[in-house]
């Protein structure tokens, strides 16, 4: 009857998951993201028009049955370009954040764990990069690398890196101060093991949240760069590039600017909602 060790608490991993699942707006965000991700992934097999098939006879046509979202300045189908554009936008968001993570997290962990001059050097550089406004840095980098989607992603990735370095460093400092890291030391575990098993998984939740939110801003940044002509190059579509072109036909064909704007808004909203939901779900205080 009197079990010494009957665990009575609910399983915790599922608790985060449950919290996320019951988070209505997060789920809405997840659905938005999933929808666009699905379109982006399946663009090539969806029964839609060729996004670069031009039709001189049907330029800048308003939405109609034949072209649900109208046509662009070269008579290409906007609907299909929007779907293909999702590819560029999502790719840009995800790849640039991946770059930032790949560079930022290890550096931040090193700085936070070892401290001393390593920390001093990394932190100073981070600070320097952080005090250059994100977009200016991205523009300078993008024009250094030359206008292309890949280069825009690299530029945004580099520009987003310091945020992750700083976040990771701060989190690492917090985690290092935790008793369980000291307990790992007391057990006699080696530094790489401690970094891998103790520091990394425990700094992950905030990094994950930040990643989601950064994907959102990276998508906007890609659109901004494309808008300035530094991103995706023609004839491949991207929402920012579409806006860039549409800007010239604002009066004659306002819908050309409408769709990409709405799409960017929705995807970014999706990522933001998801990020917020993740943050709430991972926050132990919010019960």
């Amino acid at each position: 009857m009197a079990e010494i060790a009957a665990p009575v608490l609910p399983r915790a991993k599922s608790r985060v998951w449950r919290k996320l699942r019951s988070h209505r707006s997060a789920m809405f965000g997840a659905v938005l993201v999933a929808l666009f991700a699905f379109l982006a992934l399946t663009a090539s097999i969806l029964p839609i028009a060729d996004p670069s098939a031009t039709d001189w006879g049907a330029v800048r046509q308003a939405p109609s049955a034949a072209h649900w979202l109208g046509t662009d300045e070269l008579g290409r189908d906007q609907f299909s370009r929007m779907i293909w554009g999702a590819r560029a936008s999502l790719l840009a968001g995800v790849v640039s954040v991946a770059i930032a993570l790949l560079v930022g997290v290890p550096l931040g962990m090193l700085a936070g764990y070892f401290g001393g001059w390593i920390d001093a050097v990394i932190s100073r550089c981070t600070e320097a990069l952080l005090s250059i406004p994100f977009l200016i840095l991205a523009i300078a980098l993008a024009s250094f690398l030359g206008p292309s989607l890949t280069n825009a992603m690299i530029a945004i990735g580099i520009a987003a890196t310091p945020v992750f370095i700083r976040l990771t460093r701060g989190q690492t400092l917090n985690v290092v101060a935790e008793d369980y890291v000291e307990s790992a030391n007391a057990i006699g575990l080696s530094t790489p093991v401690i970094l891998r098993r103790y520091i990394f998984p425990n700094i992950l939740p905030p990094v994950l949240v930040q990643s989601t939110l950064t994907v959102a801003s990276a998508i906007i940044a890609e659109a901004s760069l494309s808008f300035l002509g530094l991103g995706q190059q023609p004839p491949a579509p991207s929402w920012g590039a579409m806006l860039n072109t549409a800007k010239g036909f604002m009066v004659q064909a306002p819908w050309m600017a409408l769709w990409p704007g709405i799409a960017i808004f929705l995807v970014v909203l999706g990522f933001n909602l998801l990020g917020d939901g993740l943050r709430d779900a991972l926050d132990p205080r919010e019960d």
Binding site: T54, E73, L230, Q252
Partner: protein, 481 residues
């Protein structure tokens, strides 16, 4: 009455307002109001008197005599005379960072004959010199302002004098009361506002915040025409847009298009120039076939715009014996219009079996890459000069300043040099015809379209005329309230 200010929207901010250091096209527009030149350009592109009332070349073409207008004063009150001309031309030739040196390279010395007569001694006959004197090389600054910062406060003798400038924001001028032709000036002030985005420029015109906008987007012309309170104006331009090939500039020239003129011709034939003009420019520009536009007296009707001919293009490719599909890298400046044009070309060329890969570059990068031969083909253009020499010699003569493709043909070099030294129009025409024949055969570059100058004008503005040189002349313009 209230001071009347004409507000003009420009597509970009002029650079230094010093005629010897100015390089931008919009800068020239501002100089038109601010500074008089020795010679002016008429609506028919003929050279007409401005500060010089008469001019003539000596028999051997090595001296240019000019008679100067009397009673002209600079904005600071300094009188204009032959000594001022000498001082100005010498400044252009000697100032450290003068960009006028090449234009005036044939001028060896300037002789003051008397107060109103001046002679330019030339090292060799130079027909295009007159056209240079109708441009910034001919602008006369007040010699007493040389010591101050000219760009910050240019002192000329034009109909308007400089008031203030805020970089990237506005340039303000006001009417110069002592102008020699003051009667023709009916407005009190003029303000130039650089607004790069054509939509925003148009929006400002529509809302009444601007009275006149330069470089109306072709696709907006309809909007302007439809608006009750706006007027659309247009003039044929002198410039062109085309495709330049890398013929002999470095390793990248080693590609089928660099080596075989037939392929270049095939590409040219695959392009439907009329369609481009229609789709991208609402039919307002002109499809082009040669280095001058129909506005120029030198236009050669023997070379009409090539019609699209896919079959012939394919035949030429077959004849060249290369394997299809052909691959070609085409670089272009990342501007919306160029982007549309090259995308259309890409689609059209594909039908002839030419796969074009596009590479957008910032203008600065593109020029550098072009100069260093890091390109196969480049979609570039030229804003155009009144004298035909300015539209061709630098581009195709051996070692020419703009000959980035490295094209070299001794025959062409000879013909163009001869035409340059010739001042008789008919003889020059014949020479240029000869050149056209060769160039049409070899196609080191081909032409796509001539840009027209498009303006949106408020209906409050009366008396505005569009000129083929793209300058906005303020004489006779009136503002109704």
């Amino acid at each position: 009455a209230q001071a009347q200010t004409l507000r003009i929207g420009l597509e970009s901010d002029p650079d230094a307002l010093d005629p010897d250091r100015s390089r931008t096209f919009v800068g020239r527009i501002v100089f038109t109001a601010l500074c008089d030149k020795l010679i002016d350009v008429g609506a028919d592109l003929s050279l007409i008197p401005q500060l010089a009332t008469e001019w003539s070349f000596s028999e051997d073409g090595k001296a240019l005599d000019m008679t100067l207008r009397e009673g002209v004063v600079f904005h600071d009150g300094t009188p204009f005379d032959a000594a001022a001309v000498k001082a100005n031309i010498e400044r252009s030739k000697t100032l450290d960072d003068s960009v006028r040196k090449t234009e005036l390279s044939s001028v060896e010395s300037v002789e003051v004959l008397d107060a109103t007569h001046v002679r330019l001694n030339l090292s060799a006959p130079d027909a295009p010199l007159l056209a240079q004197l109708a441009d910034r090389a001919g602008i006369m600054l007040s010699p007493s302002s040389f010591d101050s910062d000219v760009a910050a406060n240019p002192v000329c003798s034009g109909p308007f004098k400089f008031v203030s400038r805020v970089a990237q924001d506005k340039i303000e001028l006001e009417k110069f009361g002592d102008y020699w032709n003051a009667d023709a000036i009916k407005i009190d002030r003029v303000t130039y506002l650089p607004i790069p985005d054509s939509t925003v420029r148009l929006a400002n015109l529509q809302s009444g915040d601007l009275d006149l906008i330069n470089r109306l987007a072709a696709t907006d012309a309809q909007t302007v025409e439809n608006a009750g309170n706006l007027v659309f104006a247009k003039a044929e331009g002198l410039g062109y847009q085309g495709i330049t090939f890398n013929i002999m500039n470095g390793a990248k020239a080693d590609n089928p298009f660099g080596k075989d003129a037939r392929l270049r011709d095939a590409l040219s034939l695959s392009i439907d120039r009329a369609a481009i003009n229609q789709v991208v420019f609402a039919g307002l520009n002109a499809p082009a076939s040669q280095f001058v536009s129909t506005a120029s007296p030198y236009f050669d009707p023997a070379f009409p715009v090539p019609a699209r001919d896919i079959e012939k293009a394919k035949a030429l490719i077959a004849e060249a014996g290369v394997s299809t599909p052909l691959e070609l890298e085409l670089q272009f400046p990342n501007r919306p219009e160029s982007q549309q044009v090259v995308q259309m070309i890409q689609a059209m060329a594909a039908e002839a079996g030419i796969n074009i890969s596009l590479s957008a570059k910032e203008f600065a990068t593109m020029l550098t890459d072009q100069k260093s031969g890091d390109f196969q083909a480049s979609q570039v253009g030229w804003s155009g000069r009144i004298d035909p020499d300015g539209n061709i010699t630098g581009f195709v003569s051996t070692g020419g300043g703009f000959n980035d493709g490295g094209y070299s043909n001794a025959e062409i070099d000879r013909i163009l040099a001869e035409a340059r030294a010739e001042s008789d129009v008919e003889k020059r025409k014949a020479l240029y015809h000869e050149a056209n024949v060769i160039l049409n055969e070899e196609q080191p570059l081909f032409y796509l379209y001539n840009e027209a100058w498009l303006y949106g004008v408020s209906d409050k503005v009366a008396g505005f005329t569009a000129y083929s040189d793209g300058m906005i002349r303020l004489e006779n313009i009136e503002l109704k309230q």
